[in-house]
Symmetry: C2
Subunit: 211 residues, 2 copies
Amino acid sequence: MKPGNDNGGHTADTPTPSARPPGRPRSREADEAILAAALDLLIERGAGWVSIEQVARRAGVTRATVYRRFPTLTDLLVRAVEWEYRDVEPGSLDRPDIDGMITEWAGHLSRPRARRLIRRLHGTVDDLPELLRAYEDAHGSHRGRAVRAALERARAAGQLPPGSDPEILQQMLSGAALQHLAAHPDTTGAEEVKAYFVAVLRQAGYRSGRP
Amino acid sequence: MKPGNDNGGHTADTPTPSARPPGRPRSREADEAILAAALDLLIERGAGWVSIEQVARRAGVTRATVYRRFPTLTDLLVRAVEWEYRDVEPGSLDRPDIDGMITEWAGHLSRPRARRLIRRLHGTVDDLPELLRAYEDAHGSHRGRAVRAALERARAAGQLPPGSDPEILQQMLSGAALQHLAAHPDTTGAEEVKAYFVAVLRQAGYRSGRP
């Protein structure tokens, strides 16, 4: 955890100006320490157990510093979820074929932290639906689009039956992921997760074009 | 909510002796009031927000009465989950074909209370895995067996491709249920839920034998 800068002043290791987005550069470090603390607490304990007090303590800032940047706990958690996926460009999720698409997704779902975060977001949907929506907007919807595109290409290439519906298959794969998150240990390796998705897709008539 | 009987004595509306299982009949009413209160709180607020104090207040008994019967909160919640499914005989989940099986499951998944309970059990899996296990033991495993049996019969009847794997298809349907619980409103009617499952199964080559 990076300790934050509570008084909003300059820190010792100031980033080079060119790397900085415009606006309040001095607050960057405190912002990131707060977001990282909120995200870690969300993953460890669940949204219901995160408080501004705990976030401030873990980030090494005062509560006032947190409130100044994030007026409510919900606002903070939503921003923390968005922040988690800040470096994943939507286009980077595209893969030329189903094999590549499943490999990428299986890699993601073999990371215990990612598994737990997705479970937390779903687990809090009755109390704080904003979090799952934030995930969908920041990441899930882009992933869904990339999966549908890969499924469409596979159908065109004859790897899926002509009557396949990429929209329904994509929802089916999302469901398969949730089922895996609920029923398989977080130590499951990427190859094993991939085999699970391949088995599901084979039920839908998927035949890999690879030898 | 039925008010409980705090002192363990007889209540006014004593059930007929023949309806009673052996053992501590006088405690039955208090037990059920406590279990019902725990279950309602679990569904409304989630396991993390249920306390013995709240359960006692809602059941109209003292905390000592709760502790006497359920030594820990986990024990109480596990028993409450088992209790929710006490009247569902495993055999009653059997259906002759896929259409009947989906109709039954869609009926269950169109009940907002059932939807929310299943979400709560999944939502608490990182903190209190005992609850999802209790559901699996008391109900989910029987449902899974009934679904696999219906899928096997459908395959034998030619309604599913010969290469279908009932085990994987059943996991796929469980996943589809989780996806529906996460992405569709709790006001979705049984017919609409059924159409969703039919659409998923059609991707797996399901062709109904019905006209």
